[in-house]
Symmetry: C2
Subunit: 304 residues, 2 copies
């Protein structure tokens, strides 16, 4: 694929109550030289204005689940975010052949995921950006969830070469925290520098392989027959994103204080542990597997 980059979009407020991205984009709108690089143009977009105004994740639907090509082309889908997705398809796309080459979408989480670099493409340009940022910010974690770009429903899938979702936590919804704001700011600067250096043909000195995590499944919170949750994340698991969960380890604790253990047969790793935004679907955490990610090939290897 032609990997030359001409148009980059930085997007914030895809979830209207994740204020870090909202205020970083506002900051850069007033200081555009910070995101300017010589070899490409950088656009700034606040993608979900009504949700930002209402300080809510979304009005009708989660905007960051609306970009599957079939949904974009479905005229029956008329909710606020479904319409926003069509508008963003016109602005940044069209998805089949997008005007925008690469999208950097800014998010936060209530989970203790630190600086997580979420990418859905095995393209060396995309993987290389994650490697580059992790080299500069060793506390970052690589979060890989491979997907077909056209079928994927994230905003980042609107980029011709896909994009990078920067997910930082823990932070409450509707809040700014300078550490989170500053860390996200620095990561975006590295992302832009990487694209610039790459387009200038400068040596990037990236490793051929780095360790990371691959999404495997979402895990539901226990609920009763009325559909109300009956347990919460166990205190031993709270805040332990990317730590090993072994068979028999505690997962949940009921409202009455009884522990519910992990009954799987193999070690997994948790992410999005106690993410407030997932309570509406009663999801308690994601299970991940630890992998080695290769820069030049999509043949990643499990590493237990």
């Amino acid at each position: 694929m032609n990997d030359s980059i001409r148009n980059v979009a930085i997007t914030g407020g895809t979830h209207g109550n994740e204020l870090t991205g909202v205020h970083l984009v506002k900051h850069w709108l007033s200081q555009p030289e910070e995101v300017k690089r010589g070899s490409f143009s950088t656009e700034l977009h606040l993608t979900n204005p009504q949700a930002i105004k209402d300080v809510r994740r979304y009005i009708d639907q989660d905007l960051n689940r609306q970009f599957d090509i079939q949904d974009l082309r479905n005229p029956e889908l008329k909710g606020y975010e479904q319409q926003r997705a069509k508008l963003l398809d016109a602005l940044l796309g069209p998805k089949e052949n997008p005007r925008i080459d690469f999208i950097i979408d800014l998010h936060t989480t209530t989970a203790n995921m630190g600086m997580s670099l979420v990418f859905n493409s095995g393209d060396p340009l995309v993987v290389g950006m994650a490697f580059y940022i992790k080299q500069k910010m060793p506390h970052a974690t690589l979060f890989y969830e491979p997907s077909n770009r056209l079928e994927h429903n994230f905003l980042t899938s609107m980029g011709r070469l896909s994009g990078l979702l920067i997910e930082v936590g823990p932070i409450a919804q509707g809040l700014l925290n300078y550490e989170v704001y500053s860390d996200t700011h620095i990561a975006v600067m590295h992302a832009l520098d990487y694209l610039q250096q790459r387009s200038e043909g400068l040596p990037l000195n990236l490793p051929t392989q780095m360790a990371g995590y691959q999404f495997t499944k979402k895990v539901s919170l226990p609920e009763n027959t009325e559909g109300e949750i009956t347990a919460m994340i166990h205190p031993d698991l709270q805040g332990k994103d990317y730590h090993a969960i072994k068979p028999g380890d505690p997962l949940f604790i009921t409202l009455a204080g009884e522990t519910i253990a992990y009954e799987g047969e193999s070690t997994v790793y948790g992410a999005f542990i106690n993410e407030a935004a997932y309570y509406d679907q009663k999801i308690g955490l994601s299970f991940m597997k630890k992998i080695n990610i290769n820069l030049e090939s999509s043949t990643n290897t499990n590493c237990g």
Copy 2:
């Protein structure tokens, strides 16, 4: 004042996105023996059902600001929470001569306030409850904001002898955390035990004086001429609730990274530092003064 206690109400979900109180009340509705004591009856109420359903602080107005007697008696106030307040006045009140003697209202905060015991009455029964809980849970903080019960706008002011607001953090909105849930659970048990022991005439062995904090003022976040915030809590202040803020100490940091210092002339103490719910009013924190609180007299003394 007649301080015999016959009817106690435990209330949760006054702010619909503070899930700890919501789920504790649901838990006790299924296990009512936990809140039963011999000398009084205990009622359980989820006070803002629509906001709980929508996982929002409020629908139209902050319910916990609607209980001033003038507002309760004003038929022009017809918003959802204004109507809920009138309904709660009928259920628990009337405010001038309430059926409920004491209200324990459960809240959480995104600020690092630990277990804060908020009370608005200098009545020895109320102060004694806070002292009793702090004796059992030394990490608790006494947060005193004296007010006239009839004019006060908190739900706790609906109790004949006022009440206790239990405020625990930090925790994100829309989230459960077992440490917060469990700590709140324990504090409520102590509150009920205190009322029971008091009514039985058992010796309580309370100190005559304990240290605490008294609310003095709310401090706004810096904003621009368009009314948008231009700064956030400084990282040196983040999480430092109830620590001293001296003249010249950093308060805020702008989106561009410039520090804004506290310009007052005397030492103050912060609380509700970076509470997400106060962003709509662009309030960054509260200033408190450190005081000694007396059990039997309202003549509390400043202690710098």
